[in-house]
Amino acid sequence: MIEIKNLHANVNGKEILKGINLKVNAGEVHAIMGPNGSGKSTLAQVLSGHPAYQVTQGEVLFEGQDLLDMEPEERAHAGVFLAFQYPVEIPGVSNSYFLKAGLNEIRKSRGQEELDSFQFLKLLKEKMKVVEMDQSFINRPVNEGFSGGEKKRNEILQMAVLEPKLAILDETDSGLDIDALKIVSSGVNKLKSPSNATIVVTHYQRLLNYIVPDFVHVLVHGRIVKSGGKELALELEANGYDFIREEMLQSA
């Protein structure tokens, strides 16, 4: 589904990603773990096209298309979704208006008919059940006055409505208590299918108890230094990131 080859990226002239290689197939869940400042979130932002990051080398193919050549909204139309670590608040604009605007532009780009308000509301209410969200959120302004957990749940609701092929969850577990974590994870799991893929970016292993990855990659200093199965996450939890660093030193 997505193939990242030797990806290098800068922010403010500083190189953060130093050659990432990663291939994700449909139906797979990949976890990207790493210490603070390793470049995890940068990878997520670069894949969705944040203008502050400059790609200096490498390529990313999304279903055979050059992803890096696309505008952020074109990537969304193609089926890339980013669940933000810090979702943006938009006062005055209702959740439903916002989501409907996005969904209809995506549908339009795919040659599908736009949904009218009635059809959309029906869909929205169904999806809200998936993430156990109260219907009062339909008419509340986007993320404004939401608690941390509500914001993250709202991200997953958006994912449910937009039905991306590739979902990237950026530190979706940060700031969540255990109950919210369970609800959010179960939402993600319900949305999983053989035809879509998920990249979970996280610092802690905790989330991976609920969203079980097929592969775990460890990112340090802008490079993937180790890959393995879900047991690698447990190993990291037990030994911290230092053991990876030590391994790196020994092999160097």
């Binding site: 505008e71 909204e73 969304a76 938009i90 916002f98 605007a101 532009e105």
Partner: protein, 449 residues
């Protein structure tokens, strides 16, 4: 004397012969004094600090005429300017003259008086004498002097002790072309809320056509002890019109004022809003939104005068600028030595949607008391990149994101309006206006948290 001043001296003589006859002698004395102040000062120039960014030469040059009566305006126009479907207390003025035909003042609650000033001289003479021209000094601002010289009619509101009005009172001022010369209206409003009263007022200005009128308003508000006054101004005159208002709010102890200014009309529009915090633990909220396009210039000058201790004041003004338009914001917070424990916050944010638009902003603090917490902030910039990125990742195009975020930017300040009916009134006007300016119906309605 300059040509301009000669014009106004002649105008004053004409006015004395007809319009002025309806009011008491003492008002006439005030008028004469104000005229001599005005002719002495003349119109302000950009050399004066208060007018540095606002050139009123086009107002000074135009031979505005006072008209003794007002042309008729169609009922449909009035209907289109009302606050949605809500029943309301409505008083209408056309070119500064009371229109009994369009006003709806039958169902006022006990204790609430709403009438035109000329009529009120008969019923509330002493009250008017005690308040009129007491809060708006005409020796400082030439437009206030001009207005005072031509004091004739306007709205008079009196809320007796403890009166609470659940519905807003709508003061609607319509300007319309009158004959060949551009018409001037010098509107004078007086709003008195006695102890414990609660009133909500829509203070709205509109044009009948694409006309070049001068609307020069002075509004004095006296908020008695423990009263609550919410005044929402909506200025949507024609983009050829000139609009000047000096609003003075005088607050007694433990009163609360909530003033909001929406300004979208006028070729040149100047709003001065002064709040005198004249008693301890009074609260003032002063907010506003201006949206400029074409070659409009909209100027807000606010003055928050903290005289007494322990008073909070909050001020948020936001501006959206398009095309070659200009906006000016000057917010002064003045804290007297006695006003200890003042808690004052002032913010001005401007969104520039065009490279040819210009913003001049000047938030000022003058603090003479030490135990205070005063902050101000000002920001000017284009569309927020992080916000628009978020929308784009949800599939929304650049153009739609711009519209949605502009509505969001506006909503952040309209939500400061306390009364839900008035808030909806403003929200609707804002979105309609933005839809017109963006040339698309595809903008969200505003919702609030």
């Amino acid at each position: 004397m300059s040509v301009e001043m000669n014009h106004y001296t002649n105008e004053f003589q004409t006015f004395q012969q007809n319009g002025a006859a309806k009011s008491p002698d003492w008002v006439n004395d005030v008028r004469t004094a104000a005229l001599s102040v005005f002719t002495g000062k003349g119109f302000p120039t950009t050399k004066q600090e208060d007018w540095k960014y606002t050139n009123v030469t086009p107002i000074a040059r135009a031979p505005f005429r006072y008209s003794a009566s007002a042309p008729a305006v169609p009922a449909e126009l009035v209907t289109s300017l009302l606050i949605g479907d809500t029943e309301q207390h409505l008083i209408v003025f056309v070119n500064g003259h009371f229109s009994a035909e369009h006003s709806r003042l039958q169902s006022l609650p006990a204790g609430l008086t709403v009438k035109n000033l000329i009529a009120a001289y008969g019923s509330h003479a002493d009250l008017i004498k005690a308040h009129l021209s007491k809060y708006a000094p005409y020796d400082k601002n030439p437009f206030t002097a001009l207005n005072t010289a031509f004091i004739n009619d306007g709205a008079f509101i009196h809320a007796a002790k403890g009166t609470k009005s659940s519905l807003p009172v709508h003061l609607l001022f319509i300007s319309t072309a009158a004959g060949d010369a551009p018409a001037a209206s010098h509107i004078r409003n007086l709003i008195i809320a006695e102890e414990g009263a609660e009133v909500r007022i829509a203070h709205s200005f509109a044009s009948a056509q694409d006309n070049t009128n001068l609307t020069n308003v002075v509004t004095e508000v006296s908020a008695g002890r423990e009263s609550i006054v919410e005044l929402v101004k909506v200025q949507r005159e024609s983009e050829k019109a000139f609009h000047v208002e000096h609003l003075h709010v005088h607050q007694e102890p433990r009163s609360t004022s909530r003033v909001f200014s929406l300004a979208v009309g006028g070729a040149i529009a100047r709003n001065e809003m002064s709040v005198i915090i004249g008693g301890e633990t009074t609260e003032c909220n002063l907010n506003g939104l201006y949206i400029t396009s074409g070659e409009q210039l909209i100027d807000h000058h606010t003055f928050m005068h903290h005289i007494h201790p322990e008073c909070p004041s909050h001020e948020l003004f936001k501006g959206i600028l398009m095309d070659k338009s200009r906006a000016v914001f000057n917010g002064k917070v003045y804290v007297e030595p006695e006003a200890q424990k003042t808690d004052s916050k002032q913010t001005n944010r401007n969104l520039l949607l065009s490279d040819e638009a210009v913003v001049d902003t000047k938030p000022e603090l003058e603090i003479f008391a030490d135990d205070v917490k005063c902050t101000h902030g000002a920001a000017v910039g284009g569309m927020n990149e992080t916000h628009s990125f978020y929308l784009k990742t949800r599939g929304i195009s650049e153009g739609s994101a711009r519209g949605i975020l502009t509505v969001g930017f506006a909503a952040e300040v309209t939500q400061k309006i306390d009364d839900p009916v008035l808030r909806r009134f403003v929200d609707t006007i804002v979105v309609d206006h933005l839809r017109r300016k963006f040339g698309t119906g595809n903008l969200p309605e505003i919702v609030h948290a």
